[in-house]
């Protein structure tokens, strides 16, 4: 079920009423959450529910067994069971064809000839998210950071919690699981901010991301027909499309959870105001960055190793992160570009070449510079193939083809609406980061607030892309 669909618009209010009616009875409430979460996921394809149930079973019992033994060998074996089960699912469903293709390509590169057959596999929605979430539970128990739960219902609800099931934030058991053991009391203020977050997420998704997506798809599906101007516009448009698509999903997820009294972690923090790529990754997809930090970078030795090893570790983390985003070489290149810049920034800092990024000059130079680097990397993320990506990367410097910017899929009013929406987004991001949107909202006289809410609702409904064009999926569903 998609957050921006009529199905969800019916599902959520019905669930909201039932949830708060059952809120005082913890077991009943968790049964409702689990049932609704499975319905939410099964709406897309019920067969893949078995994967979530399987993953939940494995980690619940592995976690329980880890809690009952101190024997190192047994604990390692149990951890291995969890890793193989979860990563096995991920590798099979997401990477099997990629590895087969890559193997065949390599073989041919060295002059060999091999028959290529790929598997007919559908990628289950959200598999990258919930496998990482369940893995983190087992790993945390293994390292003694948390105790295993004995409540199977609470654990299954934690894994399948529908607001964040298919595209995050990737929650840690330490933060989210305890919330399934306490009853929540309806809090108007909490619910109001939740609703506003949902509305803001829908604005990002429907008004900005899906509008820009029309332009991006037109140009990126046939890049050779366009000149430098169009390719740059499409690349910048994609930078905002993916930000609004993904952070929009996170906002709706956090908002929906908040309405139900749950607190989910922050996933984005105005990333395009970053002054370096290192800072960008502290603000972009925070739940994934911190997951890789805690479960890949630190186990590899983190920053405690020798300098070259640290750089290697960092680079590996970003290569893996690229691969996590998609089973294609373009995603690996995207990860590698970010890895290179992170390593370069780290090396500069380590060798006394740290550049001051403070003050107005720092803002005016490094925010645009970071945005340009991130946008350049997005070329590889969005392009349909490596050849297309390389063409776009070169093509942005070729200005020989004239560009009519209103013939890139968006006519003049739609193009301008997209620009105004981006401007509003940047103003909101900057204001929220500096002052806090909720604090500002509280300063508005209470009788004006409904007018503001109404304006938000109708802005989404008037300028959003939906209806006959169909509801568009969130980009991050495929990861």
């Amino acid at each position: 079920m998609l957050f921006n669909s009529i199905d969800f618009a019916i599902f959520f209010p019905v669930f909201f009423v039932l949830y708060w009616l059952a809120a005082k009875q913890l077991t009943l409430r968790n049964v409702l959450i689990l049932g609704a979460s499975y319905l939410f996921y099964g709406w897309w394809d019920w067969r893949f529910l078995f994967l979530i149930i399987f993953s939940s079973f494995v980690d619940f019992f592995v976690g329980k067994a880890l809690g009952e033994t101190d024997k190192k060998a047994k604990r390692k074996t149990l951890l291995l069971v969890s890793l193989i089960s979860n990563l096995g699912l991920l590798v099979y469903f997401k990477y099997a064809n990629f590895f087969i293709d890559s193997f065949v390509q390599s073989f041919r590169f060295f002059g060999g000839e091999i028959e290529s057959t790929t598997l007919d596999i559908i990628l289950p929605v959200g598999i990258s998210f919930y496998t990482f979430q369940t893995l983190s539970y087992t790993i945390d128990i293994y390292y003694g950071k948390i105790k295993p739960t004995k409540n199977m219902l609470a654990f299954f609800s934690f894994v399948a919690f529908f607001p964040q099931l298919v595209a995050g934030p990737i929650e840690r058991a330490k933060h989210l699981l305890p919330q399934f053991f306490v009853t929540h009391k309806f809090n108007y203020r909490f619910a109001r901010t939740g609703l506003l977050l949902m509305a803001f997420g829908l604005f990002k998704k429907m008004v900005i991301a899906d509008r820009l997506g029309i332009l991006v798809n037109q140009v990126y599906n046939d890049p050779e027909s366009y000149g430098g101007g169009a390719l740059i516009v499409a690349t910048i448009a994609f930078a905002f499309q993916i930000y609004c698509d993904f952070s929009g999903y996170s906002d709706i997820a956090i908002g929906a959870a908040r309405i139900l009294g749950f607190d989910l972690m922050k996933n984005f923090d105005a990333p395009y105001f970053s002054k370096s790529i290192t800072e960008f990754w502290r603000r972009w997809h925070i739940s994934l960055s911190s997951w890789f930090r805690d479960y890949v970078y630190i186990p590899l030795g983190g920053s405690r190793k020798k300098e070259l090893r640290v750089y290697t570790n960092l680079f590996i983390v970003f290569l893996v992160s690229g691969l996590w985003h998609g089973a294609a070489i373009t995603f690996v290149i995207w990860g590698a570009i970010h890895g290179l810049f992170i390593v370069a920034e780290k090396a500069m800092n380590n060798h006394g070449l740290k550049v001051s990024r403070k003050g107005i000059l720092g803002t005016l130079v490094f925010i645009p510079l970071t945005f340009i680097i991130a946008s350049f990397a997005w070329i590889f993320f969005r392009a349909n193939s490596t050849a297309d990506a390389l063409y776009v990367a070169k093509g942005i410097f070729d200005w020989s083809k004239p560009t009519n910017y209103f013939e890139l899929g968006l006519d003049q009013p739609e193009f301008l609406a997209g620009l105004v929406a981006i401007l509003l987004l940047l103003i909101f991001d900057a204001t929220h980061r500096r002052f806090g949107a909720v604090k500002l909202l509280d300063k508005i006289p209470f009788f004006f607030r409904p007018v503001l809410y109404m304006v938000i609702v109708f802005t989404i409904l008037i300028f959003g892309i939906y209806g006959e064009e169909g509801v568009s999926e969130f980009i991050y569903f495929q990861f």
Partner: protein
Amino acid sequence: MGQKSKINIVLFVLLLGGGFWYLNRVFATDHKFHNTKAAFEQTIANNEVDVLFIGSSHVFTSTIPSVIDKHTKSRSFNFGSDGLRLELSSVILEEALKSCAPKLVAVEIFRGSLADIETDVSKGFQLRAFDFASNTSWLKFRRCWDIYNLNELSGVYSPFLRNHKDWYKQDYIDLDRRLEIDPYLNFFDRGYMGAYKTLNDSLSEVYKDFKIITPVVKKAENFIKPKHIAELELLVELSKKHDFELLLYTVPDLRYPWVNYQMYEELIALANKYDVRYINQNQFYEQLDLKRSDFKDASHLNFYGALKSSNHLGQYINEYYDLPDRSSEAMWKAEQEEFNSKLVLLTEGNLLYQDSTTTAFTEQLGFKDLKLHQKLGHLQLSLDFLPQNLSLNGAYILSVQVYPKAGKEDQLAPVSQEKGRAFDNLTFRLEDLSIPFNKPLRTTIKDIERLRIFIYDSDGYKGVVGEATVINKIGSFIDIQ
């Protein structure tokens, strides 16, 4: 939750409702059914309505309420809507019954109204009826549920959600979405909207044998499907509940000979089963004295055809149904007078120019008895060619150039304005001169300065053949707004 929060929620809900109400009007599409709705509201505000006609564009182009009323002495209203399918009849009727108590409801059925609603176009046409019905109607919900996908429902219920993507094309101040009806091109009368234009020559040729009725071999499959039978049963049920009589009817359609007779046989059987009358006007072409020139296109009558069809139907209703006599009511008389004055202007016309003398184009070809009439909304040129026994076989084109008075150049047709012409140019291929020339001049100019008439070779304009004739001192149009 505090008092302020409660006030906030109430205010928000009210604003949301108000906002939707306003935006649903802003984003409503311009179409003829808005004119019908407005006319219905105006009619029921002042008067009772005794007869309702419900159906597709066939109904709104063929059944003129004032003509029906002339025969029945009652008052009728036409709810015809483009592309309306039979199963939507009850939706319109249910809404209409909230504000009137008719004694007779005539529902049109033809092959098209029994077609499945599958394409976007056919789905779109039904929205006119759905927009008319209240969003709280259970019947509307059932029909919508049957016709549309789940993700289309929000758009079906709200023109705003349906058309939001056209946000930059809307008028946010003027919320009147009625079609602007040009009285010089169309005639509007309580939901009826007919055109004066006639079937074009090529279609006229295609349907020249329209009186030949060729029975078609029966097919095994029934035309009238269970959903249509259910609709008929619902209409019968409504007729009993609201105490009105039900009439099923089919209006003239040039495509009739090609339509399978089985459908009409099935309809007759069903009408007998439910004890309602069914009249198929396609079986009365001779009685109606229908000509091809009575059609606007292959399946719709023009105003002249509608007069014939309505007179026939009015007589039929008067013969078989007992309706209230309102002929003594002042309002009824006023309605009839207004209609009759327009009818006189249309049939007899307003003579704008007359010249009985003989005028020559060339030494061999000329004309006499030239008349220019205002026929309600349009110009009608008639003349007799000399010699009358000549067959030109399309050798010449007759050109009539209509010049507007100074300061009235805005009345020129858009194509004339685009080309920078000072006149509207109407052309006619000359064939058999034994038939008197009597043709409408398709121009939007009402304040006419002069007419220039001449002939030229039909293989391309190489200049005027012979002499051009200029007509000045043309009379004034009677304003029929």
